[in-house]
């Protein structure tokens, strides 16, 4: 899933301080799963804004709405007749949400309520971790099913750097050295020889480096 975290309330009120009618817009997709942008969080943020409004003597009207998904025009359509009622929309979906809303409703003022962090998952309750950098040409099978592009701090493809110590990455003791894990796993599987093979430079044409990406599936295009 896409993992996000809420922006500090200070930052949010600074964004919307000049508006009176504010819609807090949630999403039932990834951000609900990572407890940052679902119906529940819409309620919490809306209350926080109301409290701030009262404290600062503002006559705020805060609306709440949560879409099935904000990354789908079909659901964005649902906001027709709603968005126009507000001076500002705070989308607490991933970064796709505020953009889909902005694109569909050109006059709306849309603000991002969360910081979109990475593609990953929950490794323990309350702990999420990155797994994929969306490079567009997946190669994890060479590395025991683990991704050095996203998970090695230097995206190394040919083994651990000289900073790997006790299974930790040189950048921080809290960060796993994925290469340590890859070497261990491949050794256990008796496949160390595969890691000893030279991996040539990756083509980044399919990654963000190749320019903004889109995908067309002819058979689905109506």
């Amino acid at each position: 899933m896409i993992v996000a975290e809420q922006k500090p309330i200070r930052e949010l009120v600074e964004m919307v301080k000049d508006f009176q009618k504010i819609l807090v817009l949630g999403c039932k997709g990834c951000v609900t799963v990572c407890n940052v942008g679902g119906a529940k969080e819409v309620g919490v943020l809306a209350s926080a804004l109301r409290i701030w409004g009262r404290k600062t003597g503002r006559d705020l009207q805060v609306g709440e709405h949560t879409l099935e998904r904000q990354c789908d025009p079909e659901y964005i359509e649902e906001l027709r007749g709603i968005v126009g009622e507000y001076d500002a929309v705070i989308s607490i979906a991933c970064g796709v949400g505020p953009q889909f809303v902005s694109e569909r409703y050109p006059t709306a003022r849309v603000f991002p309520g969360v910081n979109t962090k990475f593609m990953g998952g929950a490794v323990a309750h309350g702990i999420w971790s990155e797994r994929c950098a969306g490079c567009g040409q997946c190669v994890v099978h060479y590395f025991g099913g683990l991704c050095p592009i996203a998970r090695c701090s230097k995206s190394l493809m040919n083994g651990p750097c000289g900073g790997s110590a006790d299974g930790r990455c040189e950048i921080h003791k809290e960060v796993e050295c994925i290469w340590d894990t890859i070497v261990r796993k491949m050794t256990e599987q008796g496949r160390l020889n595969e890691l000893i093979e030279f991996k040539p430079p990756k083509s980044w044409t399919t990654a963000r480096d190749g320019g903004p990406r889109s995908m067309i599936r002819e058979e689905l295009v109506k």
Binding site: S153, K154, S155, L156, M157, N158, G159, P160, C161, G162, G163, S164, A165, D166, G167, R168, E170, I171, H172, C177, D180, V183, R184, T187, L192, L195, I196, F198, K199, P200, P201, W204
Partner: protein, 310 residues
Amino acid sequence: MSEFKSGSNLEKVLKAGHFAFTGECGPPQGANLEVLKEKARHLKGCVDAVNVTDNQTAVVRMSSWAASLVLIQEGLEPNYQMVCRDRNRLAMQSDILGAYAHGIRNMLCLSGDHQKFGNHPESKNVFDIDSMQLIHMVKEMRDQGVFLNGQEIDEAPRMFIGAASNPFADPFEFRVHRLAKKVAAGADFIQTQCIYNMPKFKEFMKQAVDMGLTEKCYLLAGVTPMKSVGMARYMATQVPGMDVPDELIKRLKGAGKGKVAEEGIKFALEQIEEFREMEGVAGVHLMAIEWEHRVPEIAERAGMLPRPQI
């Protein structure tokens, strides 16, 4: 074609079977050439080549190729370092062409410390290719005369290709394989991380010798004399992948006030003595960090002088 790959002094010294001795010099954090020339003066005549670091520890300094050119003007041979952190494949190849065109003949290919350690931690890193791929790219440029995309080069840069090896990083069992990969990718010589744990290094060397790696490349053992107990402690605890045994720290402490630096040098000299006898070690790489003025003395006491003239 010449019998040499690059014809650098370092290559000639190693090929002639001499025990090589290389030094290191960090470019200034500014455009002050005097600082650099001062360092060069200390190193001149004491070493076969001088590593010129590339924004080491991710701190901005004068570019490695520019400082390398200054060393050439001062009569020293540079070992031009390049890290993968700051440049993509276009910038790397163009810098290599420029460096070679201006007389640089040795190159050390490195991943580079993460920018998090440096003075611009907010920067974006590159890591378009990794150090292994860089080694291979420089080799293909030299031996096949082609760029990474296969396009022919009009006068190919002929570098003596160096790589680093850290026998003390984890996972230990993989370290010799990584060395083997670097040799297979095209490394002509290897400079190791600073060595303090001699038993572990010997174990590593035995593996390297058994695998025949030291017949395919020249391995220079890394030595950094400890200047103080504080430095030893810092290296032991703050530098990832550095192995400083407690005995060494104790020994330095035991030297007593005002005598620690001398004890550090003594330890380094003992190491150099051992490396000279050690199978598979072709030389020593002395990284006397901000201590260039002590290099002549260390070289002298280590019996490294005079350096061979070839």
